[in-house]
């Protein structure tokens, strides 16, 4: 089923590592290629390198030589400072709970919905799909104010994990990925099981789930980024410091308290490193598991 690109934002970024089979043959031009890529990689990675260096500096050193680690200026003091201000451990745990809750809800309900949208015929299917696409296009910030009233006042979920998780619970991009993926699976596989007399749930769990595993990993990795790095919504919902995820705690620190610290940038960068490392590490470890899942059909006309 073709997909008009105009209505498909946030499609899974997946890539076939296997089909790395060269589109163009090796040639002297490959040296140019390498140079361009090297330069690009440098530009992309330098801020992260600088982040780490800066977080280790005892006194903020913004000169060019400060970009190299100076033996006399290295200390873990900044990490101690940001930990004293923010309680890094608690903030990380909060981030974990927030992200974990979203991942759980997305996997459980998203797979169900994606499968239903792809392989089942039921009344309201088209409507559900259309609304899902609409949801992907409307910016979250428009809904923030009514959502705030709804969740905090009507449901009384202010300052709670549930309140944090609720608007993100089922990631629509993940649903989209699951749908696209299940579309690719031949109907015959499912039909055969149905003819054998299996109920739909069993069809899904016995046949669908094992097949969808690659898409599952992709969707989970993508779903992870959102809540882990989300700042605005948890910032609104949680005013108790003990509940704030790391992104929010760090942002508050940057805007308010940093001015009082001895080396404020050092402390900020230390917090930034702690926030960045898990996400980056996860991606580096799993990036080889990205597999092609209809990205081709999605970007075709």
């Amino acid at each position: 089923m073709t997909q008009t690109p105009g209505t498909a934002p946030e499609v899974a970024a997946t890539l076939a590592d296997a089909s790395a089979a060269a589109a163009e043959p090796r040639s002297p031009r490959s040296w140019w290629r390498l140079i361009v890529l090297l330069f690009g990689a440098l530009v992309f990675l330098f801020p992260f390198y600088y982040m780490i260096i800066g977080s280790l500096q005892k006194h903020a050193d913004t000169s060019l030589s400060g970009a190299l680690p100076q033996p006399g200026n290295i200390s873990l003091h900044n990490y101690g400072q940001i930990n004293a201000a923010l309680s890094l451990g608690k903030a990380l745990i909060n981030s974990g709970i927030f992200t974990g809750g979203v991942l759980l809800a997305t996997v459980v309900f998203g797979v169900l919905a994606g499968y239903a949208l792809a392989q089942l015929r039921f009344r309201g299917r088209g409507l559900l799909f259309a609304v899902m696409l609409l949801l992907l296009t409307v910016p979250f910030q428009l809904l923030i104010i009514p959502l705030y009233v709804l969740i905090v006042r009507n449901y009384g979920l202010g300052d709670s994990y549930l309140g944090m998780i609720a608007p993100f619970a089922i990631n629509s991009t993940a649903v989209f990925i699951f749908r696209q993926f299940f579309l690719q699976v031949p109907k015959e596989l499912f039909d055969a099981a149905r003819i054998d007399g299996a109920g739909e749930l069993r069809v899904l769990t016995r046949i669908g789930l094992p097949l969808v595993r690659p898409a599952l990993l992709t969707a989970m990795l993508l779903t992870f980024i959102g809540p882990w790095n989300e700042f605005l919504w948890p910032f609104l919902i949680t005013k108790k410091q003990s509940l704030q995820p790391l992104a929010v705690a760090l942002a508050n620190y940057i805007s308010t308290v940093a001015g009082v610290a001895a080396n404020p940038y050092g402390a900020i960068l230390a917090g930034a490193v702690v926030l960045a490392v898990p996400a980056v590490a996860l991606f580096i470890v799993f990036q080889r598991h990205f597999v092609s899942a209809n990205i081709g059909s999605a970007v075709k006309g």
């Binding site: 690009g40 910016p139 910030q141």
Partner: protein, 322 residues
């Protein structure tokens, strides 16, 4: 396939029967036509549908409602007058110079961000699309900014581009005064470049996938014809990935329209003279900080309409090209 030995099915007979057996009751047949062939799809989709209804459709409706009334947050149980005011909030939004400046800022952002994103990501994807050593390393390095929280990376950029930061130290006399993020002319472009850098990895991967679909034969034919690399790029690659380009453009526009974290953190309070305020930042300031959610909701709805307008224009241009 693993054999599914099923005990006698508990519910109705299998749905995929070629023709309805006479044993099927009338109720079941009605249910099938009314609810579709797989009514259980409704159950599967129900949690998601509920989620959308409660946490998306209802707030959206509420936002629209708020935008047509005079509304401010009150303590629970306190009843305050919330009269219907028609289009008054929309008029106020359109008349506010800060709002106009914010929309101009978004346009500046888009003008810098979208073409830059498209060009650089396509170029890098093309460069990456070959059997080169350390391919995985390069790909990962481009992706790293994307997966990192903006809050984290902003810290580094503030450190690098601050008045006494390393960038200004390197540039020396060439550094703009006042420095980048507090400079009226450079604040929004700085943010645009920052966001471009941050999002590039995602778009590179989109293009990489799209490039897989460009038939190798086209490249080989062009090479046989003696076309230079640039000519091959323009004649084969660019048209070949046009759908991806559309997608990339749309995603970039949506990101630009919803810009909040970067203006909030990089240039607190909207920057010098409001020159780096974004509409969403204004929504936050008016809706949450100043307790004027009626104004903020009207602004938000106008923003969404604006985004759809841009989509529409883009579609028109596309159709005319094709």
């Amino acid at each position: 396939m693993t054999g599914i030995t099923s005990p006698r099915p508990k519910f109705s007979p299998p749905e995929e029967e070629p023709r309805p057996s006479p044993r099927q009751s009338r109720a079941q047949r009605i249910a099938r036509t009314a609810l579709g062939r797989h009514p259980i799809g409704i159950v599967f989709g129900a949690p998601y549908a509920l989620f959308i209804a409660v946490l998306f459709a209802y707030p959206l409706g509420l936002a629209v409602w708020i935008s047509f009334h005079s509304y401010f947050f009150a303590a629970p149980g306190v009843s305050v007058p919330r009269p219907f005011v028609g289009l008054a909030n929309y008029e106020a939004v359109l008349a506010d110079p800060a709002v106009r400046q914010a929309f101009v800022n978004v346009l500046i952002f888009l003008v810098i961000n979208v073409p830059l994103t498209v060009m650089v990501s396509l170029l890098l994807a093309t460069a990456l699309n070959a059997a080169i050593p350390f391919r995985a390393f390069f790909r990962t390095s481009f992706y790293v900014p994307y997966v990192t929280a903006s809050v984290a990376v902003v810290g580094v950029w503030l450190f690098m581009f601050g008045s006494g930061g390393i960038v200004n130290n390197v540039l020396g006399p060439l550094a703009p005064t006042p420095s980048w993020l507090i400079n009226q002319n450079w604040a929004m472009p700085s943010i645009a470049i920052y966001v471009t850098w941050k999002q590039l990895g995602f778009f590179i991967l989109l293009y990489l996938a799209a490039l897989q679909n460009v038939p190798k034969e086209l490249y080989e034919a062009a090479e046989v014809d003696g076309a230079s690399w640039w000519r091959r790029f323009r004649a084969v690659t660019v048209p070949g990935v046009r759908p991806a380009t559309t997608l990339v453009t749309l995603l970039a526009i949506i990101t630009g329209a919803g810009l909040f974290t970067e203006p909030y953190l990089l240039t607190a309070g909207g920057g010098p003279n409001g020159k780096s305020a974004s509409p969403v930042l204004l929504m936050y300031q008016t809706g949450i900080e100043q307790n004027r959610p009626d104004f903020a909701s009207a602004l938000g709805i106008l923003l969404v309409i604006g985004v759809f307008l841009i989509f529409g224009i883009q579609r028109l241009l596309q159709r005319r090209q094709a």
